[in-house]
Symmetry: C2
Subunit: 328 residues, 2 copies
């Protein structure tokens, strides 16, 4: 059997027990269709399979490629592209129930021309990103219905507050955003009020379904929020060089999402990252050849660099799951 010491590094490690624990905790809090797992963080149909086994069969994607991969892997019961696209033709041909977010006449046109049958009206609830002004949601839904599209409801991502550390502020922000979304929903109709993420899954009681994804793997940014989820993945690296008071491992900018800052290494202070290196100051001596675990600051753009998760039980590598939903 392979051990982590034989893996080519850098390599994504996944602890399936930690993964299953996270999936279980979430499934108890948001059973069945109360959760629409977002695949963008893990980009892995094998992980989606674990989420479905826990009771969630409706999924959420951020890219057309994720939608294609999920449909091809048999997850086509109800797939939501929670993002705007101007060319929906690859969506219209999928063997799946496909719903796409729209926030303008142009994106609504694209859905209709691409052969997509159903839409969610994406509403801006405070995050300066996609979503129509709340007061225009009803008119957009009417326009969609006039074009023969099914309108399943509204979507509104409170992404500006999912990372707010003080819990009370996060809850207040969530409440304010969802008040906006509910008003829009009154104008739009439909059975779905889709919102939320890992940071607000516990306090967003207004949405009919929560679009959480990062909870399965976690990262150091989400770890600050005191959520009941544990770190389930790391980048394995090899110590390749020792300097005067520092060490260097082979896990750099091309193996890590860096927008949330440096990764962390237990028992060490991370100094800086280069393309293929992390320079760090260990508390206890390390040796050239040692394997270390690097915990990324941001899960999503980290996973997107890698081809495969190596499932580990301690030092043993027990399985490999492809990161099969990369790209666009």
């Amino acid at each position: 059997m392979t051990t982590v010491h034989e893996l080519q590094t850098p390599a994504l490690l996944l602890d399936p027990k930690a993964l299953d624990s996270n999936i279980q905790v979430m499934a108890e809090a948001l059973p069945g269709n109360r959760l629409r797992p977002h695949v963008k963080a893990h980009k892995c149909t094998a992980i989606a399979g674990r989420q479905r086994a826990a009771g969630h069969s409706l999924f959420c994607c951020a890219t057309v490629r994720e939608m294609e991969g999920m449909a091809a892997a048999g997850f086509g019961e109800d797939l939501l592209l929670a993002n705007e696209v101007l060319d929906a033709r690859r969506l219209g041909v999928l063997d799946a129930r496909v719903t796409v977010a729209v926030d303008s006449e142009e994106t609504l046109d694209a859905a209709a021309r691409g052969g997509v049958g159903e839409v969610l009206i994406d509403v801006n609830v405070g995050l300066p990103r996609c979503g129509c002004p709340p007061g225009q949601a009803g008119a957009l839904a009417d326009s969609a219905r006039r074009r023969g599209l099914g309108v399943r409801g509204v979507m509104g991502y409170e992404g500006h507050i999912v990372g707010v550390v003080p819990r009370v502020e996060r809850e207040q922000g969530c409440s304010a955003s969802m008040e906006i979304l509910l008003q829009a929903h009154a104008d739009v109709g439909g059975e779905l009020i889709s919102a939320g993420g890992t940071g607000t899954y516990a306090c967003n009681a207004w949405a009919s379904e929560i679009q959480a994804g990062s909870y399965v793997l976690m990262d150091t940014a989400y770890a600050n929020l005191e959520l009941p989820f544990v770190q389930a993945f790391w980048v394995l690296a090899t110590v390749i060089s020792l300097g005067d008071g520092f060490a260097v491992a082979d896990c750099g900018l091309k193996a890590l999402g860096m927008d949330h800052g440096n990764p962390t290494i237990q028992g060490a202070r991370v100094w800086f990252c280069s393309d293929e290196h992390v320079t760090f100051v260990p508390e206890e001596p390390v040796a050239v050849g040692d394997r270390i675990r690097v915990t990324p600051a941001h899960v999503d753009p980290t996973v997107a660099y890698h081809e495969v998760f190596h499932l580990v039980d301690g030092e043993q590598v027990v399985d490999r799951w492809p990161v099969d939903l990369r790209g666009w």
Copy 2:
């Protein structure tokens, strides 16, 4: 013929005229083997082919996968892995002249066990990363020769000063680093003194060969250095949503290296990036469906996210070159 308006976005665009101009300018400054082009920035054997056509036939890599891909594509005349590895077995079987950097007895052992025949002694010239202390370089070379390895010379990357903006300071720093490297070379011997990068190619007169790579494509960080190279690549994105005073395009954290900060968009102020989005404030109105060019702050980790360069002549897409050296 395809135009950029038909491309799935985000998509890497490459201007072959700008690329060839950059390659030509560098080939005039550092002809033939005075340059050992580093492939880590472009990860593309087709671009390596253009560099070879301009007279450079020795190449430099940062990962084993890059070495494998270059050898398989017929670039095996003289390939340097300018990085330390603890498992060199995949290098030893390549159909190529392979040299690997070593900075310790452990990495030297790995080279010998892996069947690699030749090494460069990597010397720390000031950057806290890889490289042995200068005073130990001679002993390491002796040890390598005792084990039957060929010692081709020294390598020392002045990476701590390649990005220093004031030119005089950059030149002074380069001089100080190369003084260290030349002293080590006197102890090591061999024909190669390998160093440098895009930021110091013009002032590093001490190295026998310069390991520059970013110059072919450029980015906004290197653009600050007043180098004679032009921006040759961008991430094409589609405007997918308009907000109150801002616009959103489909080019986010998974399409951009973010360690040097936000990308830039001509005629706009970039506000922030999310996983699949950039929110920006345009000076002139934009419309949903418009295509825009996003200029990354750091070329290397940006290219590593993408599968293909789309070569463009104005709005026309004239060719596709795979980014075929990704991964490890």
